[in-house]
């Protein structure tokens, strides 16, 4: 999906992804609330988030908070359920169960200039940003971007039989980025520096709480830095390489502030995660139409903390991928085989010193993709893919529940796509049907042990997912008038098949609705743009015990935005949840009601 660079469009990647079929966004509410995605009922740990082809890593819990990525810099957001088949991918791209691509690397197409944008509205949000791009020398491009946001995060919500205001949900962040790229005959390179600092509160779940005790006084401060880059070179007409690297350093300070909340458990913890990554991708066109790709990645990750009995885990991961593609005009087939091996080492809390016991894990991951377009208006494709996700540091080494003997969690995926599309004069239309079946096995599940205060993680979960994604789109693009309509529907039957005979066997897994969908309408008339979006999510359960106590009501929200361009200026208003519906995506975390945002921007 091309990111609409309209000031009133969603500014968070999570907002865009909620419009994809088969995607469930988990949102804990508010501007600063955690936002993660799962795709086709695979857990968010299986969804790789790639920024310009380089994976955003979180070795601690494998959850990437999509709230931290702004659409300001993005040109394109793409979701791959199967396997992307383009050349010069990193090995990690082949290893991801599903992949979300955030692409920023297209700014060289745009003319020199800059943009200042100011947004503000509900929750006392003030959000200025500035982008500036210049061609420093022929084909040497620089882009810098800065964004600041402050919001008090306050909104009314129904708390049992009363209405309260969400407290301690404020956030402040500053993000600064710079990109430098050079394009030349047969090659290009790019360097991207990203810094992000934030301070936020967590409002906590809505529970019964004695009057006068706050729900939460928890605060978190984050400082993230990364530097990543790419150098791609076509050495001959047939042989090309791409080298990619990344260094990331993220620091988190989490404090429950018991002096402000007598109900808080007193924690004041600091974490620092560092990772380094190097990838070499090679692609060789053996003979038309046969291309072979070979990619090797090496990654180091380490986590430090002042938490008690912390084992300071370190991990070195090697990933190698061999891919082969045959591509004719109307028929394509691609196959890949990935090997991943990860060495862990850690400090044992009792004995001291470093240990690497039980800590080498490796897997093979194959994939096969077929594509056939019998006529220009009909495309048919199918894929089969088996991927694994490594246990996270929390799974393995969390002081009171880790289990160093865990094996990777497996996901087998089978999917097909049938796309019918057409175009006549200013009209275009498309219908896409995507049935799929996923089987997750050795799912990592936390289970208690003989001691109630110590849990362990085991590879015991199994989930069978049968689903269908449907997308229908009709558009008209005239000179002064444009109309586009998109309908999306997702059916997902995701059943817990972990323990035969248990009360949860055969039940729908938590937070996966059987039915969900969305409706999107876009109108353009001269310099006016109008967007309407309705998202519908069916009922779900918050536990795999599908009982009335854990029923989560269906919800729907409608957003509308209006934008007007005036030469170098653009002004817009975006209204969300216009019918002021009360709803929860995650039980205990109410979402905001009606809210709005005004925006103005100046381009030069």
């Amino acid at each position: 999906m091309v990111v609409p660079q309209l000031p009133s469009a969603p500014t968070q990647v999570a907002g865009i992804l909620s419009r994809f079929t088969g995607v469930q966004v988990k949102d804990y509410g508010g501007v600063g609330g955690l936002k993660t995605v799962n795709v086709r009922s695979l857990g968010s740990e299986h969804v790789g988030i790639f920024l310009d082809g380089i994976q955003i890593e979180n070795a601690q819990n494998m959850q990437v908070d999509l709230g931290r990525f702004s659409t300001d810099m993005l040109g394109l957001v793409t979701l791959y359920n199967g396997q992307k088949t383009s050349r010069l991918q990193t090995a990690r791209e082949y290893a991801a169960g599903a992949a979300v691509y955030l692409d920023t690397d297209n700014y060289h197409f745009f003319p020199d200039g800059g943009r200042v944008r100011l947004k503000g509205g509900s929750f006392a949000t003030v959000n200025p940003s500035v982008t500036w791009k210049k061609e420093l020398a022929p084909f040497l491009y620089l882009r810098v971007n800065g964004e600041f946001l402050t919001s008090n995060g306050k909104y009314k919500y129904p708390c049992f039989d009363t209405t309260l205001v969400r407290e301690n949900g404020d956030i402040l962040f500053l993000r600064l980025e710079a990109q430098l790229s050079r394009w030349y005959h047969r090659g290009n390179w790019n360097i991207h520096v990203y810094t992000y600092g934030s301070e936020r509160g967590f409002p906590g779940p809505v529970i019964r709480r004695a009057q006068g005790f706050p729900f939460s006084a928890e605060r978190q401060a984050d400082q993230d830095l990364f530097v990543q880059g790419r150098w791609t070179q076509d050495w001959t007409d047939r042989y090309a390489t791409s080298v990619r690297f990344k260094y990331a350093n993220s620091y988190t300070h989490y404090n429950t502030h018991p002096e402000k909340n007598p109900m808080a458990l007193p924690y004041d913890l600091h974490y620092r995660q560092q990772s380094a990554y190097l990838s070499l991708a090679q692609s060789l066109i053996l003979a038309f139409p046969w291309t072979v790709d070979f990619a090797t990645d090496l990654q180091y990750a380490g986590l430090n903390s002042d938490m008690g009995q912390f084992v300071t885990p370190r991990r070195l991961t090697f990933t190698g991928a061999l891919a082969s593609k045959l591509a004719w005009d109307r028929f394509r087939t691609a196959a890949s085989l990935v090997y991943t091996g990860a060495w862990d080492w850690f400090k044992t809390p009792s004995a001291g010193g470093w240990s690497g016991e039980d800590s080498y894990r490796d897997t093979w991951m194959p994939s096969l993709t077929l594509y056939y377009a019998p006529w220009p208006w009909l495309e048919v494709s199918a894929f089969a893919k088996r991927t694994y996700r490594l246990p996270s540091f929390n799974d393995l080494y969390y002081s009171l529940m880790g289990n160093a003997r865990l094996q990777p969690e497996a996901a087998a995926q089978f999917g097909a796509d049938v796309i019918y599309s057409g175009r006549a004069k200013a009209w275009s239309w498309a219908l896409r049907l995507s049935p799929y079946y996923n089987h997750v096995s050795d799912k990592i599940v936390a289970i208690p042990t003989s001691s109630q205060f110590r849990w362990t993680m085991l590879n015991i979960g199994k989930v069978d997912v049968t689903g269908l994604d449907v997308k229908a789109e009709v558009g008209y693009e005239g000179t002064s008038l444009g109309v586009n309509t998109v309908l999306r529907y997702t059916y997902q039957r995701a059943l817990d098949h972990s323990t035969p005979g248990s009360q949860t066997w055969g039940n729908q897994i938590p937070y996966i609705p059987l039915h969900s969908g969305s409706i999107g309408l876009t109108f353009r008339w001269e310099q006016w743009y109008l967007n309407w979006d309705t998202v519908l999510t069916g009922s779900r359960w918050s536990r795999s015990a599908n009982t009335a106590d854990y029923y989560v009501a269906p919800w729907s929200t409608s957003d509308v935005s209006l934008t007007r361009k005036f030469r170098k200026y653009t002004a817009g208003i975006a209204c969300k949840n216009i019918f002021n519906r009360s709803y929860e995506i995650v039980q205990g975390y109410p979402m905001p009601g009606f809210n709005w945002m005004l925006s103005v921007e100046y381009n030069w």
Binding site: C159, F160, D161, G204, P205, V206, I207, R208, R209, A210, Q211, G212, F213, P258, E259, K260, P262, M263, A264, L265, P266, Y267, D268, D306, M307, G308, Q309, P349, S350, S399, L400, N403, R405, V445, I447, P448, T449, S450, S451, Q452, F453, R454, W455, T456, L458, I460, S502, Q503, T504, S542, R543, S544, A545, T547, D549, Q587, G588
Partner: protein, 384 residues
């Protein structure tokens, strides 16, 4: 669970005998699954089961087993108090009966909920920060609390030690249901028992073990003089103490959770007359309960095997410091709470996966008779 006042459970108290001419309880219309109670001999009317729920999920629930017709009723608090929209609250950590009242400690709600034991209707909701366990004497209810160090009771908070705070015992006037002071004890106090004018408090250090500077568990029992409400003695027992029982004859029992590494869980005994002398009784205690003057324990010697292999549990009892093995073959995988009605009749809460509703099973003369679906983490019992 396994709380100090399980003594009250044990059918030894016949305070229900004088209730024959009462109006029928409003809860008599509540219906549930029928289980076989024909072999249970008790003068009690019902057995309350407190399901903890999951932290942050606001799903603590109160069930009870009615002995008159064998009905197991789930979610009784919500059904009898529909006007309390938030339900019982978040993490039900302890329940004990005092007279005609059931006192329920709702840990993460900061509430000690007092209800009519006769018909589960609310009498009072008392504000106490992170309350854990409860015990009574004739004048007060005593509630252990983890976070008390931050609070001078009232609207204001004052900081005593923001890095590694000690816990408190709050006392609540039984008549007025008002908090009347608190006393500082050790780190993260858990179980409490009252005997002969003294309170015995088990300090766990469960949070202190993860915090600088020492990263260590507490290992002490605080002995409080109830009259002066001051700590009299601090006795070292073993790391990570959990539950205290008084057998009513001068013996105080304390269970420990161990350090999950090389010190195992266990049961220790001290004499009220000379609490400094601590005797180790036995290792491996997963769940325990008091009935009369006897402490019943169920545990496994493979408790630190995290591989997921099934554990084999064994049961034993202790009377006057003397251990006796019991014949009881558990089918449960994750025992979470225990009630002993008499030497033959055990009710066991099984937490299952801790996330979905668990079960309550009844064992009679060593074999399982039935089980019934309870709420999430059925861990605490009280007999009325």
């Amino acid at each position: 669970m396994k709380k100090a006042f399980l003594l009250l459970l044990c059918g030894a108290f016949a305070f229900c005998a004088c209730q024959k001419d009462r109006v029928p309880s409003k809860d008599s219309t509540l219906d549930g699954k029928t289980v076989d109670v024909s072999f249970i001999s008790t003068s009690a009317q019902k057995l309350f089961v407190l399901n903890e729920g999951g932290m942050g999920s606001n799903n603590a629930t109160l069930d009870f087993l009615r002995f008159s017709d064998g009905k197991y009723i789930t979610g009784a608090f919500k059904k009898m108090n529909p006007e309390i929209a938030a339900g019982l609250g978040d993490v039900g950590n302890d329940i004990a009966i005092h007279g005609e009242e059931a006192w329920i400690v709702v840990n993460n709600s900061g509430i000690v909920e007092v209800i009519s034991a006769y018909e589960e209707t609310e009498i009072a909701a008392i504000k106490v920060p992170t309350p854990r366990n409860i015990a009574f004497d004739n004048t007060y209810a005593y509630v252990t609390s983890w976070a008390g160090a931050y609070v001078t009771y009232g609207a204001d908070y004052s900081v005593a030690d923001s890095k590694n705070p000690k816990g408190q015992v709050y006392r609540i006037n039984l008549n007025t249901k008002k908090v009347e002071g608190s006393v500082e004890v050790g780190y993260q106090p858990e179980g409490i028992a009252c005997y002969n004018g003294k309170l015995y408090v088990a300090n766990s250090g469960g949070i202190a073990s993860q915090l600088p500077p020492t990263y260590s568990y507490d290992n002490t029992v605080s002995v409080i003089d109830a009259a002066s409400f001051k700590v009299e003695k601090t006795v070292e027992v073993q790391v990570n103490l959990k539950i205290v029982y008084s057998d009513g004859t001068g013996n105080i029992y304390v269970t420990t959770l161990g350090n999950y590494w090389d010190i195992h869980s266990g049961l220790y005994m001290l004499k009220a007359a000379a609490p400094e002398q601590v005797n180790w009784v036995a290792d491996y205690v997963s769940v325990s309960a008091l009935c009369g003057d006897t402490v019943y324990c169920i545990g496994t010697d493979s408790e630190y095997d995290w591989s997921g292999a099934p554990h084999t549990y064994s049961a034993w009892s202790v009377t006057g410091g003397t251990k006796k093995a019991l014949s009881l073959t558990l089918t449960e995988t994750t025992p979470y709470g225990l009630a002993v009605l008499d030497a033959d009749t055990f009710l066991l809460g099984d937490a299952g996966d801790y996330f979905n509703p668990g079960t309550v099973s009844c064992y009679y003369k060593g074999t399982k008779r039935w089980d019934v679906t309870a709420g999430v983490c059925p861990g605490h019992f009280a007999l009325y």
